[in-house]
Amino acid sequence: MALFGSFGNHDDAGSLARQAAWNEALTRGTVPAFVKERLAETMSGKRPWVTTASPAGLLAQRSHGIRPLGLVSGNCWFQFGYSWTRGHYEGWHTALDRLRLEAGLMGANAVVDVTLRVRRMPGTENEGHMDYGVMGTAVRLDALRESANPALATVSALEFARLLESGIIPVGLAIGAHYDWFVANMYQAGAAASYWNQEMAPLSSFLTRVRRQALQELRDDGVRLGSGVLAHTQHTELYRVEPDEANPYPRFLARYIALGTAILHDSRTRRPFGVRPVTSVRDPRLLAAPDTTKEVL
């Protein structure tokens, strides 16, 4: 294949130059010239458009005026030294800002099918840093105003169209994350060893508190962006850390994160649609929720 030539150009000088270009661009909050060129040529049709959508999404090109432009992405490898919550907040938001930047350079007014995932470097899982990566398909929607700030949505182009048809506008991604430590006292530590049924009430209320705090943050993020949030991904973790010299009793760490698409809607202007029963012969694709959350946490 003719492509083999493109592997040859990565000698030491070449890779150092690329590294320098990335460093300079990301520090200045932009992308290197070679990326800008690719984005511009994709927008103008000099290079093929690219979409994560299935062919069904292409139908929407004609019927709903959704034109795919190209893949856009962003990431941020973040060390969350003292705060996992802060890491999740800043990491995701930095990555999303970068994705929005690429989308803007491509002339998109929306990015659909945005997926989020974390990545840890093998062997450094406990060092308190990971990569927050986001990716999506930049599109131009005829139904949506020109905007310097493209709308982001975790839903596909077709679902985006479905929301617009109902008078709902997806505007961005909302994130709520919270973590906290709970130190058990002697009595509470003893409860786990009892012979009778009893609720571990302090742990229940601790976990509830963490969840409530994260959902409050999700709500605040939603308020900042629009009016409502469709939270598609939620994930909780509760760890028990055994006693050591400094901590005579077991400690518990709870983490909770919720992500969703923020939407602008007004129930008074919601357009109703007729419900018609149909039998689907589509092979059901199982949405494995545990796998989905594993990819983003």
Partner: protein, 274 residues
């Protein structure tokens, strides 16, 4: 038909000829289609010919990267690309000897061998199909069968939207992520900061993989690429080495007005049982 692909072994040719020739008693097709898929391929105007496979067992060369440097592992990138390409080409050869118009449902798999970490098996498998009325306008680049990882349903849908598949296109980049210097790591203990070297490595590797896939689509004469997936993986390599692999189906608008389906206006359906 065997003239076109002289280097297929005799038994493979016999198997493929048997599949294609429906007038013979033994002329049956094989496929890994589901029921819906089989029906929709027929609806799209195609018939299945047979399962076609291509495989390549590849020994990857050795490359060392600077400890503190972000750089592409060009030897590995090239290995991953060439081996996939060989598997694909062999699958295409089988399809060609069936006089197929294309191959749908292509799966491209990489398997590692327990007994040697430098040896990988690349497998391409899909179902060869042909237009039922022998329409010549569906072949891929250079008159070869088109290839696509789309299912039978997706093929029908693609044609409905006015496009035809050209080729499964891919871009690969194996990348070494720089190690952070000890001083820098110590300076950041307990701080909330971005780790720019790691961020940049992910950016660069992803960019190279996507750019190559797009370039391959351009060379195939495509207008666009659908159903693109970006995979990340580490095939038994050292910890700081990762692969970004972009894959999708390059498509082109259907040229022949006679076969362009009538405009289908999708009706948005909300399943109430999910």
């Amino acid at each position: 038909m065997s003239d076109t692909v002289p280097d297929l072994p005799q038994h493979a040719r016999e198997r493929l000829e048997g599949l294609r020739d429906t007038s013979r008693r033994g002329g049956i097709f094989t496929s890994d289609f589901s029921v819906n898929e089989f029906l929709m391929v027929g609806e799209a105007g195609f018939e299945p010919l047979g399962l076609v496979v291509g495989s390549c067992i590849y020994h990857t060369g050795i490359q060392y990267a600077g400890w503190s440097k972000n750089q592409e592992m060009a030897v590995l990138s090239q290995a991953m690309y060439e081996a996939r390409e060989l598997a694909m080409t062999r699958m295409e050869q089988e399809a060609q000897s069936l006089s197929a118009d294309g191959v749908v449902g292509v799966r491209l798999e990489v398997k590692r061998m327990d007994w040697d970490k430098d040896i990988l098996e690349f497998l391409a498998i899909g179902t060869a199909i042909a237009h039922s009325k022998g329409h010549p306008g569906f072949k891929g680049p250079a008159g070869k069968p088109f290839t696509s990882d789309l299912s039978g349903q997706d093929l029908w849908m693609l044609l409905q939207s006015g496009y035809r598949p050209l080729a499964l296109v891919m871009g690969s980049c194996v990348y070494h992520v720089a190690h952070q210097g000890m001083l820098q790591s110590l300076g950041n203990v307990g701080r909330n900061v971005e780790m720019p070297l790691f961020t940049q490595a992910m950016y660069d590797a992803r960019e190279l993989a996507m750019e190559r896939m797009q370039q391959e689509a351009k060379e195939a004469g495509a207008e666009g690429v659908v159903a693109v997936q970006l995979h990340e993986g580490s095939h038994n390599w050292q910890p700081h080495v990762i692969e970004f692999f972009a894959i999708g189906t390059a498509v082109k608008a259907i040229e022949d007005a006679a076969v362009i389906p009538e405009r289908l206006i999708p009706q948005i359906v909300i399943p109430v049982n999910d």
